[in-house]
Structure formats: structure tokens, C-alpha cells
């Protein structure tokens, strides 16, 4: 298992290099001269002198050939230095790390909501396929998938925060603050899981090994959980990796609506202020999250499906 993890980790090195090039190129390919943006933001009156712009260029490491620039940037990035935010002057790394717990909390809550809604509904839909529980589950899934997160967010705020005053409408605090944004984010993703698990489970329920498990006297629930569901979860887990990636890096809309102090809102603010180092930090972070999620999926895959990544006697 460790050897597999190490091999898989080594395989992600080229991807990491690719990610770093693209992230760096973000600065170089910016339609506005980053040095000018920075110098203007620093200058009194918002308009920098040419000399100040050149100074800024030096400061931001934007001199020399592109290769030199990239190597300089990558070296600093490797040691965790992604430069300072144009807006605050604080190290971007610190700013992202400071916001990470909030985003992790929201993503974790949303994943929990997704699984708690999606998996039971998916199982119900498959076990009672084409009967009324299935129709209800699929309708719920369809609505969940069709409703945009921002609309659901507003609806939830209106109902639970404004009308009934049960839960706070914005900000981060205790568990009560987490409920609404996690619901809004998680419900949207759950619909896909209902459909995915239903299809996957219907397939495994028709497999010979499920009939064979029943033929050796196993009770229905054991056949469902140990054989049908266990196999049906394999594609679900790979989808979960994508979902976690999306939730960690892309919960922008919901974070903004609920004033959630996470990384998504940080990205939006950075875009509005043309804070290029902060945006670079966000892009790099998102890419790393995806990479980490897909690595976790592969490890989970191997645990779920012993055929993955092992040499067998015969196949």
C-alpha cells in the first residue's frame, strides 16, 4: 500500500510542474502590466511614475527572460513564498492558510450533506427501482440538481434566517452558522450522487455474484451492503474526489452569499482588485487540492477494489 502511494505520488510530479508553469504564466499573460497595477495601487493618488513602475517590476521579479522569471518564481513558491498581496501587503500563503479552516469546514459540511442525502436516496432508488420510492428519490435528485446553488442559498436564508429566525444568515461561527451554507452547497451535489449510485447499484444488483451470495443463504441486507453496495461505491468514490475538489476551491458563490470568510470569497475579492499574486495563490491552491483529491481517490479505489494497481495471477 505504501509503495503504491509513493509510486502514485511520484507520478504527480510532472503534473505539479505543469500546474506551476500555468500558475506562473497567469502573471506573465496578464493583459495589464502587473508592475503597473502594483505601482499604481501603491502610489499616492493611484498613478505611478515610470520609475516607480520599473521599481515595482524589479520587486515583483518580472525582469529577465521568461525562463529566468519562472525559475525565480518557482524557487520561491517551493519554499512556500507566493509573494505579497497587492491589496494588503501580507504574504499570500499566510492569507490562504488563514482562510483554509473556514473553507475546509464548509466543504466538509457540504460533503457530509451530499453523502447523507445522496447515498440513502440512491440506495432507495435502486432497491425499489421503478416503484414509488424510486420516483420520489429521483424527483428530489432532479430538483436538487436543477436548482442553482445561489437560488437555494437565498431560499434557505429567507426561510430559516428571515422568516423563522432559526439560523444565522451569514458569517462563520458555531455549528449553527455552518448549517445553511453546507445545505446549499451539499444539496446541489447530492442529486448527481442519487443518479450515479442508483445506476451503479442497479448494475451490481444484477451481477452473478449477488445472486450467488443469495444462493449461499445470506440475508438480503448483507447481500446489499457487502456485495452490491460495496461494488457500486467504486464509481461513487471517484466522483467524490471531483466533488471535494470543487467544494474546496469553487464554493465561491455560496461563500459570497453567506459572507463565509473562506478561500472562494478571497478569490472573488482578489479578482475585483486585480490582486494578481493572490489570484496565483488561489489557482495554485485549487490545483493542489484537485491533485490531492485525486490521489486520495486512487488510494481509496485500491482499498475498495483489490484489482486496481496489483499484479494478479490471471485476469
Amino acid at each position: 500500500m505504501l509503495g503504491f502511494a509513493a509510486r502514485r505520488l511520484a507520478q504527480s510530479i510532472p503534473v505539479l510542474v505543469g500546474i506551476s508553469v500555468v500558475t506562473w504564466a497567469l502573471m506573465a499573460a496578464s493583459p495589464d502590466d502587473p508592475a503597473r497595477i502594483y505601482a499604481n495601487q501603491q502610489a499616492v493618488g493611484g498613478r505611478a511614475e515610470p520609475a516607480e513602475i520599473e521599481q515595482a517590476r524589479e520587486l515583483l521579479g518580472l525582469t529577465g527572460s521568461p525562463v529566468e522569471q519562472y525559475v525565480r518564481w518557482a524557487r520561491r513558491a517551493l519554499s512556500g513564498d507566493l509573494g505579497e498581496s497587492f491589496r494588503t501587503g501580507q504574504p499570500v500563503t499566510t492569507e490562504i492558510v488563514d482562510r483554509l479552516p473556514a473553507t475546509l469546514e464548509l466543504a466538509g459540511g457540504a460533503v457530509l450533506v451530499t453523502l447523507l442525502l445522496g447515498l440513502p436516496l440512491g440506495v432507495i432508488a435502486a432497491v425499489w427501482a421503478n416503484r414509488w420510492p424510486d420516483h420520489v428519490a429521483r424527483l428530489v435528485a432532479l430538483i436538487g440538481g436543477a436548482v442553482p446553488a445561489f437560488w437555494l442559498s437565498l431560499l434557505l436564508i429567507w426561510l430559516f434566517a428571515v422568516e423563522w429566525r432559526w439560523l444565522p444568515s451569514n458569517g462563520r461561527g458555531g455549528l449553527d452558522h455552518l448549517v445553511l451554507p453546507a445545505l446549499a452547497l451539499g444539496a446541489a451535489a447530492a442529486g448527481g450522487y442519487v443518479r450515479l449510485l442508483r445506476a451503479s447499484l442497479l448494475e451490481t444488483l444484477g451481477e452473478d455474484y449477488v445472486v450467488a451470495a443469495r444462493a449461499r443463504g445470506l440475508r438480503g441486507s448483507a447481500v446489499l451492503v457487502r456485495h452490491a453496495l460495496r461494488n457500486a461505491l467504486i464509481p461513487v468514490v471517484s466522483q467524490l474526489g471531483v466533488t471535494v475538489g470543487v467544494l474546496l476551491s469553487g464554493s465561491v458563490v455560496v461563500e459570497v452569499i453567506f459572507s463565509w470568510p473562506g478561500i472562494g470569497r478571497y478569490a472573488v475579492d482578489s479578482i475585483a482588485r486585480r490582486d494578481l499574486p493572490a489570484l496565483q495563490g488561489f489557482v495554485l491552491f485549487s490545483a493542489l487540492v484537485y491533485l490531492g483529491a485525486s490521489l486520495a481517490v486512487d488510494l481509496a479505489y485500491r482499498w475498495l477494489d483489490p484489482r486496481v494497481g496489483r499484479r494478479g495471477a490471471e485476469r
Partner: protein, 321 residues
């Protein structure tokens, strides 16, 4: 009282093109310790007959008619928990393709634990089917086809059942492995004193081990006879045709013949006798009414309108003559 008595079993599948009778009025008995062979082409309903006995007819199939009595107890309509007590404990089943019937994400040990209900001693079970105990922690994909099939057999015999149903147990493996597997199955059956229903398309294979043979075509049993007598003197035109299409054990270079005609479809079964469209002895009366399976000699049953005519024409067709 026979161990298993199946009477007028009719299992129907609803399809887009109307109901399909996979088993149509099937009746047979299995005595304790007996080996009954069920032979037929693909789609003859032999697998569905086996699954019907197990209470495992896949949806949308339903047992429409008939009775299944095991050890005197009526199983048709029995609650699921009653079936669960029988499956694996009283009736063990060997599936056709162990590569698909073993769960890919569970080890051999995990399968045997489920099958035996015991937490240990799984190695001994493996050794009983001629496998090394060190295969216990292998996954199915790490085994050869023959090894997988032996694991299937180990699962079926784990609780010393009174009846083993083996559905094409050797079809998925090569010829040499087939012989070894069949011998293993027969040896274990003998040790357990269990009855065996051996389902196969291969009459040659069945005729080597079965006490009696049921010949199925399009969901119906056309002949049910002691093996030796059926092989010596088939009691139905279809049995005779199957026999001519079978490689004899003492192969003397006789040319094999096909059954003739194309297999009929359950979606469009012939009226009257189901074999009438392919039967060389058929006349108009065959398409009119379905012949009943009746006793023709002690222990022999056949469903044919023209047995006398057929007997005259096929004298000397069997192996033994």
C-alpha cells in the same frame, strides 16, 4: 418421498413482446443421493428451472404455476426467510461462471466465511475441494478458472447440503479441467451423500455421471429417463437428435450430426409440440396439440405423439447398440 418434487413448474417473464414461459409445466423428482442431469440447448429453461427451485428467479420472472416440494415442504410462496434457511444449508448451488459469481472485491476466505457461517477452518474446506489453504487470502482475479470453480464448489458444500444444484459447473473451463472438476464434484457428492442436479448443454458429460436425465427444450421436459436407457435407446426424437450431436465416449469416427433446423425462440414457440418444427417425424397432428409427458416404460417418460413411428425409425441409433 423424494427429496425434491417439482410439479408443473411454470416460470414466466414479462417482456416487451409479451410473456415468455422459460419453464412450462416442468415436473421432475430427485431422490436422496441421486444424480439428475438436466440437458438442453441454450434457452431451454434449464437454468431458470434451477433458479426457480432456489427461489432466485431474477425479476421480472415469476413462478406462475406449480409446486416445488423440498423434503416434503412446499417452497412455492414460502417466505424469504424460509428460503434463506434452505439456501446454502440444505441446497448448495454451483454457478456456471465462477469468474462472475465470485465477488471481485472479497477474498476467498471472505466467501467461505459467508458460506460456512464459521470464522475459521476455511483452509480445510479448500483442501476438501483439492486446493491449497494458502489461496485463502487471494482475490478471485488472482485464481485460475479451475481454481475459481473449485472455490465455487467449496462454497456450495460448505454446510453439507442434502442437494447440490450445479448449473453448467464446468462450461467456463478447458476440457481437461472439466474432467477433473466433474470428478471432484462427484467424489464430494458421494462423500456427502448429497443429491445432485447437474445442468448442462452437454449430454456426453451428463451421461457419464447422471442416474437419470431430463431433456429440456423450450421450457419443457421432452424426455425423462434413466441415463443408460436413454443413451441406448432414446425415447424422444429430440433426445435422439441430441445424442447424434454428441461426441461418443468410445469415439469411433462416426460423423456428428446437428439437430437440424434452427433453435426455436421462446418468444415465438411452436404450437402443439415444441419440437414439431425441427422434428423429422412430425406431421400436422404435432402442431395441433401438445403431447403430455407420459410413462412409456418403467421409469421412462416421453412427450411425443408418434413414439411408435419414431421407435421404428430410430432403432439402433443409441451408443449401446
Amino acid at each position: 418421498m423424494a427429496l425434491l418434487e417439482v410439479n408443473d413448474l411454470t416460470t414466466t417473464f414479462a417482456t416487451d413482446r409479451g410473456p415468455v414461459r422459460a419453464c412450462d409445466g416442468v415436473s421432475f423428482e430427485v431422490e436422496r443421493g441421486e444424480v439428475l442431469g438436466i440437458v438442453g440447448e441454450s434457452g431451454s429453461g434449464k437454468t431458470i428451472a434451477a433458479l426457480s427451485v432456489m427461489g432466485l428467479v431474477p425479476p421480472p420472472g415469476v413462478i406462475e404455476r406449480g409446486s416445488i416440494r423440498f423434503d416434503g415442504e412446499e417452497l412455492r410462496g414460502a417466505p424469504e426467510h424460509r428460503y434463506r434457511d434452505l439456501r446454502g444449508r440444505q441446497i448448495g448451488m454451483v454457478f456456471q461462471d465462477a469468474g462472475r459469481a465470485l465477488d471481485p472485491v472479497h477474498t476467498v476466505r471472505s466467501h467461505l466465511r459467508e458460506a460456512s457461517g464459521r470464522q475459521d477452518d476455511h483452509g480445510a474446506l479448500l483442501q476438501r475441494v483439492g486446493l491449497d489453504a494458502d489461496l485463502l487470502d487471494r482475490y478471485p482475479y488472482q485464481l485460475s478458472g479451475g481454481q475459481r470453480q473449485r472455490v465455487m464448489i467449496a462454497i456450495a458444500i460448505a454446510r453439507d447440503p442434502a442437494l447440490i444444484i450445479a448449473d453448467e459447473p464446468t462450461t467456463a473451463v478447458d476440457a481437461l479441467t472439466q474432467v477433473a472438476l466433474l470428478a471432484e464434484l462427484m467424489r464430494l457428492r458421494h462423500e456427502l451423500g448429497a443429491a445432485l442436479i447437474l445442468v448442462s448443454h452437454n449430454l456426453g458429460l451428463i451421461s457419464r455421471v447422471a442416474d437419470r436425465v431430463a431433456v429440456m427444450y423450450l421450457g419443457q421436459i421432452l424426455e425423462l429417463s434413466p441415463t443408460a436407457e436413454l443413451v441406448r435407446e432414446p425415447g424422444h426424437p429430440y433426445s435422439a437428435a441430441l445424442l447424434r450431436a454428441t461426441v461418443p465416449l468410445d469415439g469411433d469416427g462416426t460423423r456428428l450430426e446437428g439437430v437440424g433446423g434452427n433453435p426455436d425462440s421462446l418468444l415465438d414457440p411452436p404450437s402443439g409440440c415444441v419440437f414439431s418444427r425441427r422434428c423429422p417425424h412430425a406431421d400436422d397432428s404435432c402442431a395441433m396439440s401438445r403431447p403430455a409427458l407420459v410413462a412409456t416404460a418403467p421409469g421412462r417418460h416421453s412427450a411425443c405423439h408418434h413414439l411408435d413411428r419414431f421407435a421404428e425409425a430410430t432403432r439402433g441409433v443409441g451408443y449401446g447398440s
